[in-house]
């Protein structure tokens, strides 16, 4: 099962399974991708409820057309694209105002040995929310999805150099924003 070591290959396997078995196989895809899709959508919508709406719409569409994902050249990139498009639609539709300066909407999880790190994680999520969407989505794809700039460019439909440039700007801003946080913690 060496070919299933990477995450995209596992998504491809799930997509093939879905095409073969129909909608009954959707639960495997949900278990595999939902968290990653939600955090990616969260980086765009900056709100977990909207992110989950977007992901739910995407997964329902995939479940209703089981062959759709299997036909894609790269199913994981295709899913990310779908989640991004849906998140952007929801953002455009959204009328209500909300603050990006708190994380009340986020559903979090932490292991018992990560309690001390929670404060830093929260600051990182806040900092990501303060970034422009075009930069935060590149950070998510680069760091959390471990994609190359060429793969990121494919998902975001920009050139690889644009993706790299956005990433560089984002990391620069994040380092400024997170410097104070980590500095304060350092004195505790």
């Amino acid at each position: 099962m060496n070919h299933l070591k990477t995450f995209p290959s596992r998504v491809r396997f799930c997509a093939a399974n879905l095409a073969e078995r129909g909608e009954d196989a959707i639960s495997g895809l949900i278990d595999l991708t939902s968290q990653r899709l939600v955090r990616f959508a969260c980086a765009i919508t900056r709100n977990q409820h909207d992110a989950e709406d977007a992901v739910q719409t995407v997964l329902i569409r995939i479940g209703s057309q089981p062959g759709l994902l299997d036909q894609a050249e790269n199913p994981w990139s295709y899913l990310l694209k779908m989640a991004r498009n849906e998140s952007l639609i929801i953002m455009r539709r959204r009328k209500r105002w909300f603050s990006i300066d708190n994380l009340c909407d986020l559903l979090t999880q932490r292991r018992i040995d990560e309690v001390q790190r929670e404060e830093v994680y929260r600051e990182i999520w806040l900092a990501l929310r303060r970034l422009p969407v075009i930069q935060s989505e590149v950070v998510v794809l680069k760091i959390w999805e471990e994609m190359t700039f060429a793969e990121i460019a494919d998902v975001l439909e920009v050139s690889p150099s644009t993706a790299a440039s956005r990433y560089r700007y984002a990391i620069g801003k994040l380092s400024v924003m997170l410097r104070d946080t980590v500095g304060d913690l350092d004195h505790v």
Partner: protein, 150 residues
């Protein structure tokens, strides 16, 4: 995410940096670790499965109706095409009565014999597209009595 990069001690695990800037590698590692901090809601999975199943059930309920409708539409299309072909496209020739009536009329008005009038009527009612060479050759062979080919 490997914990190797994050020593348990709170002070040691903070990313190293200096006045010139942040260590980007450490920053990336921190961001990476924060990725697992947020999780999907508990309702997402059951809601998606439920909706997918409902849609599948709706599709299977409508399937016979759609199938029947498509069969009906196909049959109606084939029938209407057949009717169009029979009544409008396929040319209908003159009946024997039509030809005889025309020949009689022509014989009266032109003062020629009924036989020759019948020949002319047949010649005129020949379907378009027939080779004219053949028709001309035939006309040479059918001549009224006493007339010449010139």
């Amino acid at each position: 995410m490997s914990d190797a990069h994050f020593p348990r001690d709170r002070f040691e695990r903070l990313p190293a940096w200096d006045d010139d800037g942040f260590d980007h590698y450490d920053l990336e590692q921190w961001i990476k670790a924060a990725g697992s901090y947020v999780r999907a809601g508990d309702q997402l999975r059951p809601q998606v499965i439920d909706e997918v199943k409902q849609r599948a059930a709706r599709r299977s309920a409508w399937k016979p109706v759609v199938q029947f409708a498509s069969w009906g539409l196909s049959a109606a299309l084939i029938w209407s095409l057949s009717v169009y072909a029979i009544f409008l496209v396929v040319p209908r020739g003159l009946t024997a009565n039509d030809i005889f009536n025309r020949a009689e009329q022509r014989a009266e008005t032109s003062g020629i014999s009924l036989d020759w009038a019948l020949t002319e009527v047949f010649k005129e009612s020949r379907l378009p597209g027939k080779p004219q060479g053949v028709a001309n050759q035939r006309s040479l062979t059918i001549q009224p009595e006493g007339s010449t080919n010139d």
